[in-house]
Amino acid sequence: MSQSTSAMGNEKIKSSRRKFLKSAATLAGATIGYSWLKSSQVLLFAAEPKDESLPWYGIVIDIEKCIGCGSCAKACKKENDVPIEPFFFRTWIEQYTVKNDGSVNIVSPNGGIDGFEQTVPDEDIFKSFFVPKMCNHCSKSPCIQVCPVGATYDSPEGVVLIDEKYCIGCRYCVQACPYGCRFIHPVKKVANKCTLCYHRLKKNLAPACMEVCPTGARMYGNLRDKESELVKFLKEHTTQVLRPNLNTGAKLYYNALSSEVR
């Protein structure tokens, strides 16, 4: 009797050991599998809205409304302590002039702050328009992807920001931005860019460039709120992002974007 009990006991131990080994193997396999998947996410890079209660910001620029007055670029420099020298811009305006012969003339003297003068004679002009530029606050930002220390990051609202106390000034992000929106601040010696006036957004104030725009060519809003002005605009207009082939997940949408613009 005692023998059989002990034999059964052995059997039990064996089967429980087998179970343990099985579950341990499954666990180990799952862990390895998960970490492998996780590491492949290192290569696949994207920011996603996490906190449902927060807005997920997008921007619209209506090229048809821009008159090239330069108020936005000027206000931005004032608001954000950007050096006045014509080499540092968080936002600027480009003037495109497509000539009758098909050639394109692009200018942005002092970022458009002082306004524009058309140098191409009227009879040679096929069409001309202004394109305000600023950070596209991409959801798959190449600049965030490449930062070696994680000094640049997505805010929970999808705004691309920089931690000035953390940036090492390697300039890799400046290289990675396809839109030329980043620069090294000559005084702070760290990367600098448009923050969508995050400090103002937090107080429910519009970004400086949008506040001063006399024609309302720029707007921002919550992409998640289907009732927002921004989403309504996107619904009613055919908009396009810059360099869509690069798949940066840009959240700056242009209305009436001409194919000459890069």
Binding site: L43, W92, V104, V146, C167, R171, A176
Partner: protein, 398 residues
């Protein structure tokens, strides 16, 4: 006005076409040209050394330790141009403490440390341990202690232990070859993965970097071997040169083919960036790409090396030719680094214009500083050759 702004105004006045206003100033200057050049020399020199060891190319024996010490000398300096180009160099350590997992650059510190500590230092240590023990027994005074410390207290030189040294050294070399590939392929990836820049963004970039690294490292070792032999008043073994020259020839052909393939692909596909790149190579890069990299650094060495495969007379002529070829190839690879790093920043990402670049003489980002980082490893190499002379090593029977 600040001199820096003055400089920017001058560049602005010389800009051609349209460039984004933030693009006036080049972000990466001559130091970032020097950085991949140096790491390339490291990887190339190491791969040549590994050839001798792993593939048992006996003829290369006289260059084995030279190649390893050359690799070490340059590797010790490799991070310096990188750190000194940072705007916040005092924060450089952050890259090691809080690396950002999705950043190619963040891995640099680890790749570098792995290569330095695990591969190069260990391999050299296993190689030299036996000799260092013998030297510390022979020498007197400070040097006795220096060698003793370098042996890390492992003074056993019984045949069994020495055999283990050799075995472990061999294993490290085997690990080292892919490590050298990773080190430099990775440097290529830093550029090749930037999709915003069509001049950089190609999957071939890591491979091109790797082969040009091998080309430059092999040339450097050949040059160093000749110079050292000359200084030591020893005869330069032309058979060694022939063997290295043969490798150089084949790797150079591969390198040339890959770079040619890259360009042919660009021309044939002619994507949206094609026009601006065409203007770039036929204008601002003409001298450094076609003349310096193409003609001087590739075509002439290729023809000469091909000729040397058949021409086996006149030892003096051959030696002179190898000497010149190695210098030309180094000039060519340096130009290649220049064309990639500087060339990639000269055109605007609007594809509508060019900025210009004039390297200054002084300052942290100037020519003198770059020259210093290139000369310093040669000083280190001289010191290492004095400390660990390969020609005084204890001979071991195979």
């Amino acid at each position: 006005m600040e001199p820096h702004y003055q400089h920017l105004y001058e560049i602005l006045a010389n800009a051609q076409g349209y460039i984004f206003p933030n693009e006036i100033d080049l972000q990466w200057g001559i130091l970032i040209v020097v950085y991949p050049f140096i790491t390339g020399l490291v990887a190339g020199a190491f791969i040549l050394a590994s050839l001798e060891r792993v593939f048992k190319v006996k003829i290369l024996k006289p260059t084995y330790q030279i190649a390893l010490l050359t690799a070490l000398s340059f590797l010790l300096v490799a991070t310096m141009p990188l750190i000194s180009h940072l705007s916040q160099p005092q924060r450089a350590y952050e890259i090691m403490i809080t690396p950002h997992s999705s950043s190619a650059m963040a891995i640099f510190g680890f790749v570098y440390l792995w290569y330095l500590m695990v591969v190069l230092l260990l391999e050299i240590w296993f190689d030299y341990r036996h000799s260092m023990v013998v030297w510390s027994n022979k020498k007197k005074g400070v040097m006795k202690w220096v060698y003793k410390i370098l042996t890390l207290g492992v003074s056993d030189i019984s045949p069994r232990t020495v055999k283990w040294d050799r075995k472990l050294g061999y294993i490290i070399t085997v690990i080292g070859i892919p490590s050298a590939f990773i080190l430099h392929g990775y440097v290529g990836f830093i550029f090749g993965s930037i999709k915003a820049n069509p001049w950089w963004s190609t999957p071939l970039m890591p491979i091109i970097f790797l082969f040009s690294a091998m080309v430059s490292g092999i040339s450097l070792v050949m040059l160093v071997y000749m110079v050292i032999s000359h200084i030591r008043k020893k005869v330069i073994d032309v058979n060694v040169l022939d063997a290295i020259g043969k490798y150089l020839f084949f790797v150079l052909i591969l390198d040339f083919t890959l770079e040619g393939l890259d360009q042919i692909q660009r021309i044939y596909e002619a994507e949206e960036s094609f026009e601006i790149i065409k203007l770039l190579v036929s204008g601002k890069l003409y001298l450094t790409l076609f003349v310096s990299q193409g003609l001087i650094g590739t075509i002439i060495p290729l023809i000469t090396l091909a000729f040397l495969q058949f021409y086996k007379h006149q030892i003096k002529v051959r030696k002179t030719m190898y000497f010149i070829v190695s210098i030309l190839v180094l000039i060519g690879v340096y130009s290649m680094r220049w064309n990639v790093v500087i060339g990639g920043q000269l055109f605007s990402k609007s594809f509508a214009g060019f900025t210009s670049f004039k390297v200054g003489l002084i300052g942290l980002d100037g020519t003198l500083m770059a020259a210093f980082w290139l000369i310093l490893p040669i000083g280190i190499l001289a010191f290492l050759l004095w400390l660990l002379p390969p020609w005084k090593m204890v001979e071991e029977e195979e």
